[in-house]
């Protein structure tokens, strides 16, 4: 029912519809890259250094003659890979810990989880990721792990609040009097009712992860194997001075479009699924966006 309402709204709102189409388009490109259909030649070098637009190289080539279009395509795949895995991990962690904390509200479990979240949130994000990357000796998964670790708390806080509310709802009370076990109440009655929250948070975390990847790659802590939009931007600073903008523009516009579309989608979902959400009853200590704090940590 909730989803129907959402779909009705999306159909009537051309902006959201456009955003959705754009995301599907990017996703298609990402799938193509994963399946090896396109973007496979991202690391092939050619003798054409910093070439302009041409039929062979749609967006030109970079300083060592690699095709910028193919790199952007491969980067799209990486962006989705980073976004989906981090968002999935963080949302799962957030759902589990948040619902547990909410269900055991004002008991030891709640306190412990609250403490854990406080601890993680008080270490500045980029320092946390950098430290983890070094602790893991530059392992490929360091970045994914660090982002998941940093991002789950926002979701957990929201789920916790929602769980506290749901716990007092008649249908949960009823289940409890009927003797349904705690885990069953959590998994069958409470968690499903937070699904809209989880979906919205999934989208927001996705955005956060994609943006954070760019920053981390720029700092040399991001993607180690392959190419990403962040790496393209990092390698483009010298191109810019040489008057060659295509590497920079292609990567940053792709990034902008995907993030913008996802943001619009998240907004639309929020409006349709969770009107209460836009009320800042308790903005909490969390940053507005997990990835890019308003004042640049």
């Amino acid at each position: 029912m909730m989803w129907q309402r959402w779909w009705e709204r999306v159909r009537q709102d051309p902006v959201t519809l456009a955003a959705l189409v754009l995301i599907m388009l990017f996703f298609g490109v990402a799938c193509g890259s994963w399946l090896g259909l396109i973007g496979g030649g991202w690391s092939d070098t050619s003798s054409l250094l910093r070439g302009g637009f041409s039929a062979e190289h749609w967006f030109g080539t970079n300083a060592i003659g690699q095709d910028i279009f193919q790199r952007a395509v491969f980067g799209t795949g990486v962006a989705f890979q980073v976004g989906v895995s981090v968002a999935l991990g963080a949302t799962l962690l957030g759902a589990v810990f948040g619902s547990l904390a909410g269900y055991f509200h004002q008991r030891a479990g709640d306190g412990l989880i609250g403490w854990l979240m406080g601890v993680i949130e008080s270490i500045p994000f980029y320092l946390l990721v950098a430290a983890l990357a070094f602790a893991m000796q530059g392992h490929n998964l360091a970045m994914y792990l660090a982002m998941t670790l940093a991002f789950w708390t926002t979701t957990a806080r929201l789920v916790r609040a929602e769980t506290i509310r749901l716990r007092q709802m008649p249908f949960v009370e009823a289940a409890r009097t009927l003797g349904v076990g705690q885990s069953a109440i959590l998994s069958r009655h409470i968690l499903p009712n937070t699904s809209h929250l989880l979906l919205i948070q999934f989208t927001i975390t996705f955005v956060g992860a994609v943006k954070a990847e760019v920053v981390l790659s720029f700092l040399g802590l991001g993607i180690q194997d392959g190419v990403s939009w962040g790496l393209m931007i990092a390698e483009s600073t010298s191109d810019l001075l040489a008057g060659h903008f295509s590497n920079f523009l292609v990567a940053s516009i792709s990034l902008f479009l995907l993030v913008m579309a996802l943001n619009l989608l998240a907004d639309a979902m929020q409006d349709a699924l969770d009107p209460r959400f836009s009320h800042p009853a308790d903005p909490g200590p969390a940053e507005p966006s997990p990835a890019e704090p308003s004042h640049g940590t």
């Binding site: 994000f125 950098a130 720029f218 902008f256 993030v259 800042p280």
Partner: protein, 316 residues
């Protein structure tokens, strides 16, 4: 729970937080940090030399011993000297913290004022073209990467490829003019990126307020819109706003702005900390972790206090 109980509870929480943050930070940034001894040993070391340095740096001690030692240092707030430069850690913090604060505060304050204004305009014109325009602008700001803005602004405002109004990099603040010219581009960058998030936040806060009965009542009593805004809405929004502002303080103070500082070559605490992480400079890291956890604890306690001062319902 009575008041003193609440205070004790808050203190307990703060202590638990400090212990947690210092332990996690210690584990990640100090215990698993890169081994500095190879670097300190020079170009052609012998195995004994490396062993000796490892011993001096305490790498051979077990984790609990090292953590306890750290807590002891924390209690006296004496972390010794940087392993890289030999500078006293407290002196290093005293040198870099003010720079980071001076770098970030203008953008932070202006960003909040700007966002408050935009948020108010949008909230009053809800659904109208001003609201939509502001939504588009803030949505755009939220979607552009900080790095892209930083690179673009440097090129546009501070290079011979663009307007060349401001210094391309570096940091000088002996005179107000020097300070303003060096802080300008970073401030613009912060403004551009933060306004999106902040505007949305303020709009939401104000929209909720406008719907409240006491606001409607004030208007019915003939208060002008401006007067209602400053006399009724703003004071009543204090709680969420203060929370947001206060919780940003530790991040600004201690985290500094790694990206801005490294890109523009500004000697702030963010850059120093990042360098310490990459090189494994334990004393510096220990101090930074300690400082950030203490700052957070202080904020937590004061927010707790503020809630009670600002919100009468919590008093008693």
């Amino acid at each position: 729970m009575n008041t003193s109980g609440l205070v004790r509870h808050g203190l307990l929480q703060a202590v638990a937080l400090v212990l947690g943050v210092t332990f996690l930070g210690f584990l990640l940034m100090v215990y698993f940090a890169p081994d500095l001894s190879y670097q300190l040993a020079g170009k052609n070391p012998t195995a004994e030399q490396i062993q000796q340095i490892r011993q001096q740096l305490g790498y051979d001690q077990p984790l609990p011993v090292r953590y306890l030692q750290y807590l002891q240092e924390l209690a006296t707030f004496d972390f010794g000297y940087s392993d890289s430069s030999g500078e006293r850690v407290t002196a290093l913090l005293a040198r870099t913290l003010p720079v980071s604060a001076a770098l970030l505060l203008p953008g932070f304050i202006l960003g909040h004022i700007l966002a408050m204004g935009l948020g108010a305009v949008a909230a009053y014109g809800r659904g109208r073209w001003t609201d939509r325009l502001i939504a588009v602008v803030s949505g755009t700001g939220m979607s552009i990467s900080f790095i892209v803005v930083m690179i673009a602004f440097q090129l546009v405002f501070a290079s011979s490829y663009g307007l060349n109004w401001f210094p391309a990099r570096g940091w000088q603040w002996a005179t107000p003019a020097q300070y303003l010219s060096h802080v300008a581009v970073p401030t613009l960058t912060i403004l551009f990126v933060s306004s999106g998030y902040n505007t949305r936040f303020y709009r939401a806060v104000f929209v909720e307020q406008i719907g409240q009965d006491y606001v409607k009542a004030a208007r019915a009593f003939g208060y002008s819109r401006t007067r209602t805004f400053f006399r009724v809405i703003l004071p009543n929004s204090l709680l969420p706003v203060l929370t947001r502002v206060l919780y940003s303080v530790p991040a600004i103070l201690v985290g500094g702005s790694l990206l801005l500082e490294s890109y523009f070559g500004i000697p702030g605490v963010g850059k120093s900390t990042f360098d310490a992480i990459t090189s494994g400079d334990q004393p510096v890291l220990k101090a930074v972790i300690a400082l950030s956890s203490l700052a957070l604890a202080v904020v937590m306690l004061s927010v707790d206090r503020l809630y009670r001062v600002v919100d009468p319902r919590l008093r008693g």
